[in-house]
Amino acid sequence: MTTRSMLALALLVVLGGCLPHVDVDESLVRSPRVIAVRATPAEAAPGEAVSLEALYVGPDGTIGAAVIDWARCDARLPLAELGPINPVCLGFEDPLLVSQGLGARVDGTISREACRLFGPDPPPAQPGEPAGRIVDPDVTGGYYQPFRVIEPDDDAIVLAEVRLACGVAGATQAQASELRQRRRPNLAPRLDLVFAQRADGSDALVDPDVPLEVRVGETITLEAGWPVCPLEDVCGDTICGPDETLTTCADDCRTARGCEGAERYVRFDPEARAIVVERESMRVAWHTTAGSFEIERSGRSGADDSTYAVSRWRAPDAATTAVLWMVVRDARGGVGWTERRIVVVE
């Protein structure tokens, strides 16, 4: 052992202690479960109807016909609760759980009080007391209506959220007005391309309908790409960006359109007390029925202009057909996914 190695070991034990290995393979689908929930539209106003769809998968692939139980939860989150949802939402029955139906895809509605319960509007005042504390936004300035989902096979509970189209808290009237003008509803992202690169350097576009063929034990690099969104507003690109209006670019903004990639958006920065323009980060969760992903989650931060996420998938040691799902999530709660099949041969 070199001096450097000994020194490094000493430092490691002094500073780091010993970390256990308690990781699990989050990518491998061993049993039926929900791995994503998509809302359409991805951002909805109080009282608005939304279509909720779960990606329910099993070891054999996507399970299309599943009796999934949906409920909207209208319970506010106490400050003392550090989880994402009020614990009453994790129950099976509660007055604050409003059923949204059964199935892999249901039509639900956003609570009419959503912006009071989960957003920037003051909650209903108690008799004799002033209005209560508003809810803080997330880092994108967003607020969310929670939903509770019960999987059909094991009654496992899954949480889902739909981004709310609410106002803003803490801003001046001028800022609030500007935000209303510049804010564009989020559009759920889409993965449109999946590339596979083999160890020999050859690559291929993986077609949704034509399974890719690999050898047992082979490792391939996968890239999942999403549409390119403009980094700055250009009138005529068919996308109405935050710096464009009907007045400045009627062609783009006559019909509000977004981008299914990493969109630019505006938010109110509570620290700087200013309106700032941000770009969505994009995350991809990799799932498979066989083999294993070297990187189970990957993505790009808002500062990264790249439009794809990368992982490496190792084929199992026996011939089979693996189903791969790539679920993309943008920073504002939008969700999309795509599915590919890989035939593993001897």
């Binding site: 450097r4 020194l7 490094a8 430092l11 034990v13 002094v14 500073l15 780091g16 202690g17 010993c18 970390l19 290995h21 308690v22 990781d23 699990v24 989050e26 929900v34 994503a36 929930v37 779960a54 319970a75 506010r76 106490p78 400050l79 003392a80 609760e81 550090l82 989880g83 994402p84 009020n86 994790l90 108690q126 007391e129 209005a131 209560g132 504390r133 508003i134 803080d136 936004p137 997330d138 880092v139 969310y144 509970i157 949480l159 889902a160 959220e161 803490g170 001046t172 800022q175 920065d269 509570p270 007390r273 980060s281 989650r297 990957s298 993505g299 996420a309 999530r329 709660g333 969700v335």
Partner: protein, 898 residues
């Protein structure tokens, strides 16, 4: 066997002079009976070195009283000058003219080592009781002078004592006592013999014996044996009454001197770290450096250096203290029930007393080990003026990148710290001194865990810098009163920030601190001492916080290690000015001839607070500030009863308050109008001292706090009320301490604390374990310094129950964030497994020319016990494991001094 009155009187004059302590009427304060573990709470000037009698002159038994043969006791007020000579002797308690004159004649010839108040040679007045009593049997036999020399305490024979007899003809005979302490001079002839006894650790004593022709006398001399290492507390024959005694405000405390602490394994020579091993202190999780005393939260225990508050005791990671060890004189921990001079804290009190090192000329020392390097330069211009400058800087960060690589450094929590002091002390006159001190500490800590998923990348950053400048003026008047004034100013800068993906949370700010601690202590009468003072503290804090309200975590949060904070964010920038000006007064009533001490005290603590923002900022609306004032009266009472010198029974009760932290006064993240929290402390204990160096203590305690700031449990809390003063807390238990102070090279202690710390989030909720509960904490420290070999070996064994944790019984998949959310069992219903560790240390001192080298090797976790420090879970909470603490780790340190 018969008694010869004249000889008996002379022999007993000697014996009674050296054996008075157990037989005399107790005076208000018995310095030599003060258990080292039972010292007063930190405050103003204190007797730090008792005068030791170095020249004893026996009193002649008055001839006029020989026929009566009666016992007599003369109390003499002896004023000892700064040079140790007796400047004045006045009879305080008369036993008749003859006895008074004899006693005064002898006492005026005494010579002492100078007393020291706060380390300064000072004039002092003591009550010396010269007793002419008949306690020892003298057997007269013909033909010789025979006898035995015994230790006064325990009446054990003393071997090797040098006994010199000067015969009537001027010839000198010498003898050494045998194993039985006996000596014999045969055929010494008639007449008056001068007898001198001296030996190791025994003050030279003189007496005379008159023998008739053909007569033999058998005498017994009981002498006091002083422990050379304990001379300031044990090495005198005196019953000392400091005229302005420091009041015993704390009935339970543990004080460790720096030289004792240095030997404790695990401290790596950093003496302040010995606090971790004291009774009542829970074992902090590795790397935190938190100080948890009697189950109180770390920020409820106040930390003082010379009476000046500092924000932390340990550097980041808990590897080092923030105070350079060469300037530390002692560390005292008072877990509760302390007196009226301290407040603003619900928990315990840690007081570090520092000093400007003594010594002639200019000296320096440099220490080096794996973690850091430190050094000190000290010098003295003359006897009155001395100064010191010290510094310490971490080294890990300098070579970690080269040793581990830049990527690894990014992962690891590598502490970067430094601290330093500059000190200047001037003696203004007899008993009067001024010390100017500047100190600083700085910590930086940063690590990051990159991830291909931007939402899973984690970064963590913390820093804390603090500076303090203070002056310490001390004046001891000739009448024994003591004035102490410590004005101080300080500045703190700190920030804690984390990034969990794109959720960045941070809280940081600056605090300007100013304060004054002043006390006047005087002895009003023989039975009453008064300590009155002022404890003023003003702080102005400006804070900036952004991110999740759930970070940083608070006591009572239901969460697990590694769990991401909520992703909802807010931001606030606010300032808070808090003023506390607390006058206090305490009296020490000495009753039953000093066997009972009643120390009532009261502290009047008016608080005023101004917060810049009452409600969260809305648009461009102007900020509306909040002002609050509270007035609290804090009564304190302690009792001490010493039915016999070896036994003390103690009790204390007091009320304590703590203002909210400035961090909790945010309109967005906290509550600007939070009230004071308060706590009641009750302590009951007993101390037994079977020997002069062995102490056994048993202390029961109960603390009850209320109005503790907790997160609002309401689903719709009002604005600016994220925290509510709804929490209640209680801690109760007992601690036992068996402590052997330095005795023939051996020292150590066994401390065991059995406690339970509970919290109630709201009045209607059930009591639960506090996050800081540790049922059992056992610490055993044993150090042995091999006499003459400059070698010391020591061991430390620790056992501690693990901290409570909330168990996880499942998880819910959050499809929105692609993360799992744990489902919790009973709040703090489980624990981290217990901690067991043995540490060892061996140190050797070398003299190389003018350089003194101290080389030490510490081996932490000798048997390589796998100690779980924290529970970690798999991302889906389907599996769990433990973060383990340090494996066996040898640490070599070297320190050179010139």
């Amino acid at each position: 066997m018969r008694v010869h009155p004249e000889r008996a009187s002379r022999a007993l004059t000697l014996a009674s002079s050296v054996a008075f302590a157990s037989s005399l009427v107790a005076a208000p304060i018995h310095a030599q009976e003060t258990p080292p573990t039972e010292t007063h709470a930190p405050s103003g000037p204190q007797l730090t070195r008792a005068p030791t009698l170095v020249t004893f002159v026996p009193a002649e038994y008055p001839a006029s009283e020989r026929e009566s043969g009666r016992a007599a006791s003369v109390g003499v007020h002896v004023t000892i000058g700064v040079d140790g000579t007796v400047t004045e002797a006045v009879v305080a308690e008369s036993a008749g003219e003859a006895f008074d004159a004899a006693a005064l004649g002898a006492v005026r010839q005494f010579v002492f080592t100078p007393a020291e108040i706060d380390g300064v040679p000072s004039a002092i007045r003591i009550l010396y009781r010269y007793q002419f009593t008949l306690e020892t049997e003298v057997v007269v036999q013909p033909a010789a002078l025979r006898g035995q020399v015994r230790a006064r305490r325990g009446r054990t024979p003393l071997a090797g004592m040098h006994v010199t007899v000067t015969l009537a003809d001027g010839s000198v005979r010498e003898a050494r006592t045998d194993e039985a302490g006996r000596f014999a001079f045969e055929d010494v002839g008639e007449g008056e013999l001068s007898v001198a006894i001296e030996g190791e650790n025994v003050t030279r004593v003189l007496t005379t014996e008159t023998l008739a022709a053909g007569e033999s006398v058998d005498v017994t001399y009981d002498v006091t044996v002083a422990d050379p290492d304990e001379e300031e507390e044990e090495g005198d024959d005196l019953e000392i009454v400091v005229q302005a005694p420091p009041l015993r405000r704390a009935v339970v405390s543990t004080e460790v001197r720096a030289e004792e602490a240095r030997l404790v394994p695990g401290t790596s020579g950093d003496v302040v770290r010995v606090v971790e091993s004291l009774p009542g202190v829970a074992r902090a999780s590795a790397g935190t450096g938190n100080l948890i005393v009697w189950g109180a939260a770390p920020d409820e225990t106040r930390i003082y250096v010379d009476g000046v508050p500092i924000p932390r005791l340990m550097h980041e990671g808990g590897l080092r203290s923030v105070i350079q060890p060469d300037t530390v004189r002692s560390i005292e921990l008072v877990p509760g029930g302390y007196g009226a001079s301290y407040g603003r804290g619900l928990g315990g009190l840690v007081s570090v007393r520092t000093e400007t090192p003594e010594g002639d000329g200019v000296h320096g020392a440099l220490a080096l080990d794996l973690l850091d390097a430190s050094g000190i330069v000290r010098g003295a211009v003359n006897d009155d003026v001395r100064a010191a400058v010290s510094a310490r800087v971490s080294l890990i960060d300098l070579y970690a990148a080269q040793a581990l690589g830049a990527d690894a450094v990014a992962y690891l929590p590598i502490p970067r710290y430094r601290d330093g002091q500059a000190r200047f002390r001037i003696a203004l006159g007899a008993g009067e001194s001024l010390e100017l001190v500047g100190m600083l500490g700085s910590d930086q800590f940063q690590r990051g865990v990159p991830n291909a998923d931007p939402a899973l990348a984690v970064e963590e950053r913390r820093y804390l810098d603090f500076q303090r400048v203070y002056a310490r003026y001390t004046r001891e008047s000739g009448d024994g009163s003591v004035i102490s004034i410590v004005p101080y100013v300080g500045f703190d800068q700190r920030e804690t920030a984390t990034s969990n993906g794109e959720v960045r949370t941070s809280v940081g700010g600056e605090t300007i601190l100013a304060g004054l601690r002043a006390s006047y202590r005087t002895h009003v009468t023989d039975w009453l001492s008064i300590d009155a003072g002022l404890d003023a503290e003003v702080s102005a804090t400006t804070l900036v916080r952004r991110g999740s309200i759930g970070f940083p975590a608070r006591e009572g949060d239901v969460r697990v290690f590694g769990q991401s904070p909520p992703d909802q964010i807010a931001a606030d920038r606010w300032s808070a000015v808090q003023i506390g000006i607390a006058p206090y007064v305490e009296g020490d009533l000495s009753l039953a001839d000093g066997a009972v001490h009643v120390v009532p005290g009261v502290r009047v603590d008016p608080y005023a607070r101004s917060v810049s923002r009452r409600i969260p900022l809305e648009g461009d609306a102007p900020a509306l500030g909040a002002f609050r004032q509270d007035f609290r009266v804090e009564p304190r009472l302690s009792l001490r009863w010493e039915p016999m010198p070896e036994l003390a029974l103690r009790g204390a009760v007091g009320l304590y308050h703590q203002p909210p932290r400035a961090e909790d006064l945010s309109a967005s993240f906290g509550t600007p109008d939070l009230p004071l929290s308060q706590a009641l402390h009750a302590v009951l204990g007993a101390t037994v001292r079977p020997t002069e160096t062995l102490t056994l203590e048993l202390t029961g305690f109960f603390t009850a706090g209320d109005d503790l700031a907790m997160r609002s449990a309401s689903a719709s809390p009002l604005r600016a009320q994220a925290l509510v003063a709804s929490g209640n807390g209680r801690s109760y238990g007992a601690q036992a301490l068996v402590r052997q102070e330095l005795f023939e090279g051996l020292q150590g202690w066994i401390a065991y604390t059995l406690s339970r710390s509970e919290r109630q989030d709201r009045d209607e909720s059930a009591w639960r374990l506090s996050d800081y509960d540790q049922t059992h904490v056992l610490t055993a420290v044993l150090a042995y310094r091999i006499p003459g070999a400059e070698l010391d070996v020591s061991l430390r064994f620790r056992y501690a129950t693990g901290f409570p944790r909330t168990s996880v019984w499942g998880a819910v998949y959050d499809a929105a964030s692609d993360r799992y959310t744990p489902r919790f069992g009973a709040h703090n219903g489980s624990r981290v497994p217990e901690f067991v560790q043995l540490d060892a240390r061996i140190g050797r001192r070398f003299e190389v020319g003018d350089v003194r080298l101290d080389v030490s090797l510490e081996v932490l976790n000798v048997w390589n016990q796998a100690n779980p420090e924290e529970i970690v879970y798999a991302p889906d909470y389907s599996a769990r494991g433990y973060v383990l603490g340090l494996p066996i780790l040898p640490v070599l340190g070297i320190r050179g001094e010139i």
